[in-house]
Subunit: 171 residues, 2 copies
DNA sequence: GACAACTAAGTTGCGCACAACTGAATGGCG
DNA sequence: CGCCATTCAGTTGTGCGCAACTTAGTTGTC
């Protein structure tokens, strides 16, 4: 293999690309885990994991949602959500019941205890914001970049599914 | 909800912060998983998972390393690495053997088969780069931002451990 | 030499992520 | 009506990530 693809190389060869890739994918991986760790600490008092917190955030805004909708909002499938919601129910934060109109659907609703938990959760974002050391504008900018990136990656990986409805990815 | 805590708010109240937090932490979480998904697809031919690829990238550069060093490079502990390395060994990509000088240490080395795998891996970064739709400069910029963020989060979470040796976080 | 403090790798247990599958309910179509 | 494709939730199996712990080897001190 001298240079197999003598096509449209910018300026780097495959070796450099591999090296750069190591750096970039490591950075993203590490950043995600570092964030996770900070949330883990901040959420310990609430007895929530990071993904459970994400679910509660969605439910606090909307009050009640079918599992399907939660999955669309958070990009999670039932394989992840079903056991997670079971644990949230076991902890007393949410209730699940099958929908009357459509027996296939399960509606998830925050309990009084779950609503009370929100009061404690109000302190979390400031803790996180402080830990990042970023300004509000920087946070917003970061979010925009990440969403663009996610959209690009999703569009590439699978043929753009009908993501339109959410209204959460653009906002 | 008037405004419960009339503390030192920048301009947003707790409600807004909680809303913004939902968006940011979701974005990061989703971006990391979307990235993971693209790598998963790109790595399917190689028979590697994303974390396994990270380990192989490090080993391809250095040839042979003790488990401890790999962990420092990738920010992973033995609880994650031990079974992962076992699987890489079972697949024939690496060899593990206890160090002669220090019997506590286990040295990991790529096999001939593992080295051959690198040739196939050379195509991966271009695939990923194409999927992101980012230019080289944007990729580098993203990496810088993520590393800064990780450093800030790490420094916050645990009292800055002796991270100095790696030479990978700053580079 | 003996003992305590430390270090490296491995193990266990729990939760998340995802692919693949199951099972029940729904909707369309002849 | 009967049949089939689709949809929704849940289950199973594999692998990662991390906390807590275990085991074995090393080092420092007396």
């Amino acid at each position: 293999m001298e240079n197999a693809s003598a096509g449209a190389t910018d300026e780097l060869d495959d070796q450099d690309f591999l090296r750069l890739d190591r750096q970039v994918c490591f950075s993203l991986h590490a950043a995600a885990r570092a964030f996770n760790g900070v949330y883990r600490t901040a959420l310990k008092d609430l007895g929530l994991t990071y993904p459970q917190y994400l679910v509660m955030l969605v439910l606090w805004e909307d009050g009640e949602l079918p599992v399907k909708k939660i999955g669309e909002r958070l990009r999670l499938d039932s394989g992840t959500l079903s056991p997670l919601l079971k644990r949230l129910e076991a902890a007393g934060h949410v209730e699940r019941r099958r929908s009357a109109e459509d027996e296939r659907s399960v509606s998830v609703r925050v309990t009084a205890q779950g609503a009370a938990l929100r009061e404690k959760a109000l302190a979390v974002p400031r803790t996180i914001a402080a830990a990042t050391g970023l300004s509000l504008d920087e946070v917003r900018d970061l979010r925009t970049r990440l969403d663009r990136l996610t959209a690009a990656l999703d569009g590439e990986g699978r043929e753009a599914s009908g993501e339109g409805g959410a209204g959460d990815c653009v906002r």
